[in-house]
């Protein structure tokens, strides 16, 4: 089983819910394909990650740029999921984003930290003036609880 | 990390004080110094009171020394080996090759007993 789903959304927080829910649905689909009964943790992880990355894409948008869409692509396989989010924002480097000092309870900066925590892999590459964030997550046997 | 061999010849018995760590970085030095000493005597006490850590290459060196000592009808006795260093001897079965004493004096005395 291999399904490809692509969404193109305006870089606007009005569509944040749609993006995140699509992530949750894609995850649910990938999980149900291997007969997972309970997939809350897996689904929630993907929903959270998509919410964070879409938010970032919208927030870092420069006002002066011509109109573009955030492209969200789901590669759904039985038991695992790949999410690719493409935006036209200024370049950002994943490694240069500091992890929040969780002991100091900062008020922001948790976004990418959370994404890295809940997904198996997160990479960012720059291609044709786009940031391409690729995230993957596989259901492990212990998730099947 | 510190490692020094003080060979003070107390009669025909050599005492080597091992301290700090014995590992890949200094095990060769141990062997070399041991061989030099082997020309004078074949009975040794390794005082391990101040030895904190030994790894497999360190252990290998100590066992090689023992083999050489045994080949010339001598022996190496170990003194004051800390429990966690002893764990490594147990794990690798090197424990069976050596006799352990609580301190250097007892180890020295054990050689004397044999002669008596």
């Amino acid at each position: 089983m291999k399904e490809r789903v692509t969404l193109e959304l305006p870089p606007d927080l009005h569509f944040l819910r749609l993006a995140a829910m699509a992530g949750a649905e894609a995850a649910r689909y990938a999980a149900s394909a291997i007969g997972m009964q309970r997939q809350d943790v897996f689904t929630h992880a993907v929903e959270l990650a998509v919410s964070e990355v879409f938010t970032n894409a919208v927030k870092h948008r420069r006002a002066a740029t011509p109109a573009w869409h955030v492209m969200i692509h789901f590669g759904i396989n039985a038991g695992d999921l790949e999410v690719i989010v493409k935006d036209r924002n200024p370049h950002f480097d994943l490694d240069s984003v500091p992890s929040p000092d969780v002991d100091a309870f900062p008020e922001d900066g948790y976004g990418l930290y959370l994404v890295k925590q809940v997904m198996d892999t997160v990479t960012v590459r720059r291609e044709a003036q786009c940031n391409i964030v690729t995230m993957t997550k596989t259901i492990r046997p212990e998730d099947a609880t | 990390m510190e490692f020094q061999i003080q060979t003070r010849t107390d009669g025909p018995i050599a005492i080597a004080a091992l301290s700090g760590r014995v590992d890949a970085a200094n095990s060769r030095q141990l062997r070399r110094q041991f061989e030099r000493c082997l020309k004078t005597t074949n009975r040794f006490v390794f005082d391990c009171q101040a030895l904190d850590f030994i790894d497999s290459s360190g252990l290998g060196a100590v066992v090689t020394c023992l083999r050489k000592a045994l080949a010339t009808a001598g022996d190496i006795r170990l003194a004051g080996v800390a429990p966690k260093v002893k764990l490594v001897f147990e794990l690798t079965q090197a424990e069976k090759l050596f006799t352990f004493f609580s301190d250097a004096d007892q180890a020295l005395a054990s050689f004397a007993d044999q002669h008596a």
């Binding site: 995140a20 929630h44 959370l114 | -």
Partner: protein, 113 residues
Amino acid sequence: MQIDQQVMKNIFVFMPRGRLDAASAPLLRERLAAGDGGNMVLDFSAVDFMDSSGLGALVAGARRLRAQHGDIKLACIADTVRRVLELTRADRLFDIYDDPEAAISSFAPEKSV
């Protein structure tokens, strides 16, 4: 997002409804900032999702209130919210109750029966 508000035993009880994300966090931030000082209970029984923006609003609110010797307590958080609090270790920052009533009376234990 909609945020219901009521006062019980001199304590502000906020009840946000829906998703607490970048789209709705500013509203929560604003509402938490409006109540000056005092104690608050956030009843999360109608919140099914929270991301880092929502968390940011909570942490900011708690910090402001504590500087004024008040506090925020949380009640009825969903598993999804609990996981975000745990992953960011922000669970150490909040008292979390499974009953808003208990959260409210915890502010004045001697008065509650």
